[in-house]
């Protein structure tokens, strides 16, 4: 399953990354090598092996429903490219 330039273009759109033609070419090559590397797994016989949903053999990790302090608002908003005293500000959300 080779990765195509169209695949990378679609994924970059989904990831909201604006890539130029040269970047698309480079990333198609680089990502393609990663996909090929993972692709080696398909050579293994897995019919007898149960699917795995998690890398570690752990299950049922829960926390109690007890409220703990949240971040102060100023800290929560600190990384926002644009903000006011209360909220993050983003370009107008349309269509909803």
């Amino acid at each position: 399953m080779a990765l195509s330039r169209a695949d990378v273009e679609k994924v970059s759109l989904l990831a909201r990354l604006q890539l130029g033609p040269a970047e698309l070419d480079r990333l198609t090559g680089e990502l393609g090598r990663i996909v090929d590397f993972v692709e080696q797994l398909s050579e293994l016989e897995t019919r007898e092996i149960a699917p795995l949903a998690h890398a570690l053999d752990v299950a049922n990790v829960f926390a109690d429903d007890v409220v703990k302090p949240s971040l102060p608002r100023d800290e929560a908003l600190a990384n926002a490219p644009k903000r006011d005293d209360e909220c993050y500000r983003v370009p107008a959300v349309l269509g909803e």
Binding site: L13, A53, V61, A63, D64, R73, A76, E96
Partner: protein, 522 residues
């Protein structure tokens, strides 16, 4: 009689739609077999916020109405390195709901990342459940006590546990072209309950939603407050049209932003007609065009097409590596099932069989909160007459609750007070003709029966008091006595008026009977 009682207004979605247009459309759709040239096919997706104190994967508060962005932390705003941990209570509430919906609970479940970009989704993905949801294949039975549709089991495809997104607000004050984002709601636990397309009319859809909400409130898993967004409804709807070449299906439309059950009913009725006209015009069938999303405009009472989000259906789900899967044994499932308590459908059946209530009365009582049912049971058991108790509750108690905007918990007369009143009426201690007036006084003054009787000047009149009063009356009115003796029993009527003047607490029937008896003995 109870069948004349209008549905309680404290639960506004029980009130029949008064909009003539919507009713006409609703009827044509609900009678589609006989009148409309199509069958309306509806499936509902309900998102309900679970009543936890803290969020699904972090310990920020879920309290509604806090100052914007004061209930967030590195986990729920997606800062690097933060680790989500599942809220045990949220999982338990979801499990209780799934079991009450008769779902299968798989032994293994996991959570997945649903990837999409939206400003109110800070991580760039929502933690949801994709191919291995925590529950599937359930059902919810809907009935209409007025018999407008036959009882049916609506199949539940799945119910899964996921996190909520934040809120975006348009900045109307500053008038700038920005949206403001409040992430307090981000990460609040949601149960998404997906039905099969088993509903066939707007009325059935509303019945499903009403019954589902009642169940959720009985279980105590959600407050289901639609104004605060605790319960949200999306409807998938299309038509099956009989044509000479066979039945064809129109494109499926998803209606979003429907903010009340009545609006759901109206939006579906509107969609039925709109889709039929669109089909006449375009002939488009399911599969010809991608699934369309439409919003409901409550002001204009129409649905409108929403901008199609490019690639919006490519969510690239994959298992969330930060979250451990959850496993459950049959024994654990059975233990939770056993602790569910009596659910609304079972309570209705019990009221009909053990208390001899008509289906309508049982429905009105059970459709209130469970505390109302407890009040009813206390009155019915206390007075020994289930129907009499139902009449008092569905007429007097509900009327007063609606008038004064009380919950049953705020009602000033406890069940024991009403039982005392009914017993006093039965024994003759309180006059039956003034029972409602007495109850009103008990309610208005938060009074016990005796105090209410005193306030209204109602004193119990003993039979010896009545007898001496009647003897006096007969002595004072020899002419009436003569009239009655000559066969004109109705002449005694004027004695009653005189008796009431001398003692307003006397029971007119007692006076009449006593006078006639005394005259006979003369």
């Amino acid at each position: 009689m109870s069948d004349k009682v209008s549905n309680p207004t404290s639960t506004p979605t029980h009130t029949p739609a008064s909009n003539a247009g919507s009713d006409a459309a609703g009827n044509s759709a609900s009678n589609s077999a006989s009148t409309a040239p199509y069958e309306l096919v509806i499936g509902l997706e309900v998102h309900v916020q679970l009543a936890t104190q803290s969020k699904l994967f972090c310990r920020c508060s879920t309290r509604f109405g806090a100052e914007p962005n004061t209930q967030t932390c590195p986990v729920c705003i997606g800062l690097p390195g933060a680790l989500p941990v599942m809220n045990r209570e949220a999982y338990q509430l979801a499990l209780r709901t799934a079991l009450a919906l008769h779902c299968e609970i798989p032994a293994f479940t996991k959570w997945d990342r649903k990837n999409y970009y939206y400003p109110d989704l800070p991580k760039g993905y929502q933690i949801s459940q994709f191919d291995l949801p925590m529950s599937r294949n359930g059902w919810l039975e809907i009935r209409d006590p007025k018999g407008e549709f036959a009882p049916k089991r609506v199949r539940i495809t799945r119910a899964h546990l996921e996190e909520d997104a934040g809120k975006s607000m348009h900045d109307e004050v500053a008038g700038r072209a920005d949206s403001r984002i409040d992430l307090n709601r981000t990460g609040t636990p949601l149960l998404e309950i997906v039905s099969e397309p088993d509903l066939r009319s707007p009325r059935e859809a509303k019945a499903y939603l009403t019954e589902l909400r009642l169940l959720l409130v009985y279980l105590g898993v959600s407050d289901c407050n639609m104004q605060e967004g605790s319960l949200r409804v999306d409807a998938n709807v299309n038509l099956h049209i009989a044509t000479p070449e066979g039945t064809i299906a129109t494109p499926i439309v998803e209606v979003k932003n429907v903010n009340s059950f009545r609006a759901v009913e109206r939006a579906l009725a509107f969609e039925a007609e709109r889709q039929y006209e669109a089909w006449l015009e375009t002939g488009q069938r399911k599969g010809d065009v991608p699934k369309q999303t439409r919003g409901w405009d409550d002001q204009r009472q129409i649905t409108y097409g929403q901008r199609h989000k490019e690639e919006s259906s490519d969510y690239r789900y994959f298992p969330d590596p930060d979250l451990a899967p959850v496993t459950i044994t049959v024994e654990q499932v059975e233990r939770i099932r056993a602790g569910l308590g009596e659910l609304p459908a079972a309570t209705r059946t019990r009221l009909e069989s053990d208390y001899q209530l008509p289906a309508y009365d049982a429905d009105v009582i059970v459709n209130q909160e469970s505390a109302f049912v407890a009040y009813y049971l206390a009155v019915a058991d206390g007075c020994g007459d289930g129907k009499q108790a139902a009449n008092w509750l569905t007429q007097e108690v509900l009327r007063l609750m609606n008038e004064r905007n009380w919950t049953i918990g705020q009602f000033p007369v406890p069940a024991s007070g009403l039982v005392e009143l009914l017993a006093a009426v039965k024994s003759g201690k309180a006059p039956a003709t003034r029972a409602k007036e007495l109850f009103g006084a008990m309610v208005d003054g938060s009074l016990a029966l005796d105090a209410a009787m005193e306030r209204l000047g109602i004193a119990a009149v003993s039979s010896s008091e009545i007898e001496s009063l009647c003897r006096q009356l007969l002595a004072d009115n020899p002419r009436i006595v003569a009239d009655v003796k000559s066969g004109k029993a109705q002449a005694a009527a004027s004695l009653i008026g005189q008796a009431k003047k001398r003692n307003p607490n006397v029971n007119p029937n007692d006076v009449r009977a006593t006078c006639l008896k005394l005259i006979e003995q003369m």
